[in-house]
Amino acid sequence: MAIRRVGILGAGKVGIVLAGLALAAGYEVRISGSDSVEKIALTIKTLVPGAIASENTEVVANSDVVILAIPLSRYKNIDPTLLQGKLVIDAMNYWWETDGIREEVLDPTTTSSEQVQAYFKGATIVKTFNHMGYHNLQEEARPKGDAKRKALFVTGDDHDAVDQVAAFVDSMGFDTVVHYQMADGIMTEPGSPLFGASLRHDELKHTIDHFDQTDFGKQIADRMH
């Protein structure tokens, strides 16, 4: 199914930037916050005119892809069945300063996106957009072929879903480096040299390909053993 309508849960810094990019790429965009439409209406109208301010259920019902752009400590406030059967992009990270202490938020033995997938059982989760700062996402989206174009890592367990999301990321203004394993999401989580970095395709691919040689990669390997 071709993606024509983009839904964004979370009308904060990242949600609004992604809404702007999606509008610029020609998609129909819906966006919601944790509360009523009224609370975000003026913000959406002023910052991303053209996007439709909505509530979660409306956003999900009317979108071909749904982006989770809310704090990681909040996703369990969403009913897991809401995303049943949906293609979902997980743009979330563990950020202790707002999420609190990791052990209370996350099982330390797995990656955050695997936990998100386990919670939203009926959805197909793909992880991307998470490892670049929101103002870089806004300022560094560029047309295909631009020599300065930056790249994003896209990964998930469902092959077709990953490919679909990779094409979507490309349409939003970024090259992609693609893996087909959700657990590899760890490569862009906090602590990774890729988290907060803004890299071109060759640079991103190089670090991904040699991830086990990075300090963070070594730490992760130690943790697994």
Partner: protein, 351 residues
Amino acid sequence: MVDIEHLEFGLETFGDIVANEDGSLKTAAESIRQIVREGQMADELGLSVMGVGEHHRPDYSVSSPETVLAAIASVTKNIKLATAVTVLSSDDPVRVYERFATLDALSNGRAQVMLGRGSFTESFPLFGYDLTDYDDLFNEKLALYDQLRTEKPVTWSGKFRAALQDQEVYPKTEKGALETYIGIGGSPESIIRAVKFGYKVIIAIIGGQADRFKPYIDLYHAAAEQLGKPEFPIAVHSHGFIADDEDEAIEVAFKNIKANFDRIGLTRGWAPMSREQFDGETKVGSFYVGNPETVAQRMARTIDLLDLGRFDIVYGAGNQTAAQRERMIELYGTKVVPRVKEILAEKAATK
């Protein structure tokens, strides 16, 4: 259009530890005394505001900014004395009021409260607060502060502090209200909150192009209109470093700002700053670095673009020497500020 005559120029420091000429570090106590000296310089140079941050970490000297500001008050005449920022979420609003009202008395009405959520969170565990209450803490304490600011008896109850029953808080100020700003980052919700309280707004632009804040400033005005709240000229603060020589300025800033950002990034798992990122920030982003002409041109552009009423440069990031810091302040006061006004006047004439 920018009101050049009333445009304010401030300096802010987060209280970074000062370096000796040989690269070793001064003590926190020496660094604090250096800030008092710099506050005095800023006043002599006719700058509008001196802001001092609050941190509770080994890499910063100031945890009690009002005390430092009180010392500056006693050696200055005109400059406003601000915190940059007071981490209200982990403070007691009653104490905040009392400390600032005292500072206001000592300085003949020059105290300026800047409230924020802060970009650091080490004060939460230190004072027994839970990070997961991040939003609730700020909202509740801001509401209490807002009542205290009326300087009338307060009746209040909430989750995070003992209730108050018809309670007076002292000392009262001579003007009847403390000048108050809310410091915000990139979140639209914070802008709306500031509008609701009717406070002035200072935006921390610490990364990326100033241009991206233009819609946020539109949002501020649109929200004020919709809610029937007062509108004030917007203030911005950003990092900067000025030296006589352009290349020297860039090298000193790269070393120090990078060290500072990387150290903070480490605690958040954020990758170190690359040279490309730094260069982007100094050329078109939010670091105001270079010789006086370069910095003046870039500041004037931002002030004009965002229609600002005030611009504060955050100085001293990383471990700079006293000579570097003082020379920067001198250049800011004597060269950059007059030049910014000149550029803006030329722009206004051609509009």
